[in-house]
Amino acid sequence: MIHAEPTEMTRLAQGQGFLSLRGLTRRYDHFTAVDDLNLDVAKGELVAFLGPSGCGKTTSLRMIAGLVPASSGHIVVDGRDLTGVAPYKRDMGLVFQSYALFPHMDIARNVAFGLEMRKVPKAEAAQRVKEAIAMVRLTGREHHRPAQLSGGQQQRVALARALVVRPSILLLDEPLSNLDAKLRDEMRTEIRDIQKRLGITAIFVTHDQMEALTICDKVVVMNHGRLEQVGTPHEIYEHPKTAFVAGFVGRINRLPGRASGGVAQVAGITVSAPGFDGPVDVMVRPHRMILSTGPVPADAGLHQLSGTVTRATFAGDILEYEVEAAGTLLKTEASTRGGEALLAPGTPVTLSWRPQDTFVYPAS
């Protein structure tokens, strides 16, 4: 007998994903903020929307929340089409960059607000508020006003307030951007721990690649309202599909070259470039370039470039170099693990790197 839950069946028919975005688009008078966004998010996943400001990541999030109407396309959650449904009926939790706590209510009442709206019985609500406040480690602050708390504490209240109602999806709009660096690292881990413990599906909007790479299951890189690449942090970093992704996630060196017959000539060396023809950009991450003063064995299978150090910077854990090779300035770095001394500018050096660390894109 073939049997499936109706929601399951609809979900499969819609095509995978607990949250599915289908051709989601937002047009304004003079520009398109989000252009034909298609995405599937599995239940329990933490997905980052990563991109520079104005790339459409926040607009996408606000469309999912229902705060910005979609010009076209669909938002489907658990088989239910939510396009056009008012925000207060969407059952989603949203954490804002500015915290957006109710300034006239104490912490307990802030957290209880969503339960009150859902008419959860008083005793149960009180218990859940207590648990939520404990979860974000703010027990004892129940009767403080938001203004009496630090930024980090306010953001934890916002998190508790969004999660206490057990939303279907948790949306986080640059939740760490207003916090200082140290607090940001702590909160990042804390958000990830809580999200995993509750198994909640979450979207995390950020312009910070570190946040996206370190805590998210999947990263959606956006630029100019378009989706550039979706993948695990490892895929995004090691196999960037476009020059934009390679440059935005992590640091990158760019060497202009020319391709024909499956290989590209760049700075006097030949790199593999299957399927390319004409001008190309060859890219290599600075820390994947090995800097050496002596000769590099030719049979090591590494790409090699000779050059001269033009700038040397001591940064404690690493040494940062700028090397001029074949008329291009390339960044690279060396570890100080063995107590290496800084090379003086003018020192002739060889840069070498593995062929698989070479990215080739059509010239921009």
């Binding site: 207060y88 949203l94 957006a100």
Partner: protein, 264 residues
Amino acid sequence: MDERPVSPALKIAAGLMFLFLLAPLLVVLPISFSGDDFMAFPPSSWSVKWYGAIFANSVMMNAFWISLALAFVVTVLSLGIGLPAAYALVRLKPPGAEALANLFSAPLLLPTIVLGLALLLVFAPMGLIGSFQGLVAAHLIVTLPYAVRVLSTALANLPLTVEEAAGMLGARPLTVFFRVTLPMMRSGLVSTTALCFLVSFDEVVLSLFMTGPRLQTLPVAMYNHVDQQADPMAAAISVLLVVLTLAVVLVVDRTAGLTRTFVK
């Protein structure tokens, strides 16, 4: 509030300014305690008889109650009309919201005497002169621009995200308004109330056009009194009005914070 050192020159300038503003009071206060039967400065003897005379004067007491009722009704109506208007202008932003906002503050630009004359010409054929309704309508013309202004500013200064957060938590738009928007506008509401009440209670020029022999507001009654008799009772009433104004301002300061309310 941040404390910054104030230069002596600024202190002197501020002192002179205060002296200039308070000068009338320095004359009126002694006269109100005069024992003479006519206004003279300085008085030849002292007494509180003119304060007693106010409460014995039925015309003045009637006018006081009318002014109080009028200020109350005008304030309630100003809030009742001003709040939805401000919400529409700031949040719903209909086409031409800017022009509408300017139109609403236009009565403030007209000299009150011109407004009064215009109202007289329009209201007289309608039989509204000397009526309470006529007075309410006239005062609303002056108080509404203040109400819409102050409430619009209060509303525009609210972070929209807080209301969005309430919506995301399941609150319907009307619930958001009453549970989040309105409480956050508290200082704006307090200052609008105080402003409308004081403007209506002190209004003379429009009231002069609108009142009749049977219906007088306190400022009009005072004006008529001074016109006919030069006794120090008017000074005593003035002092009481200053005390009332001071009380309102103090209440605003305690509940909403004066600088935050009026300066912003």
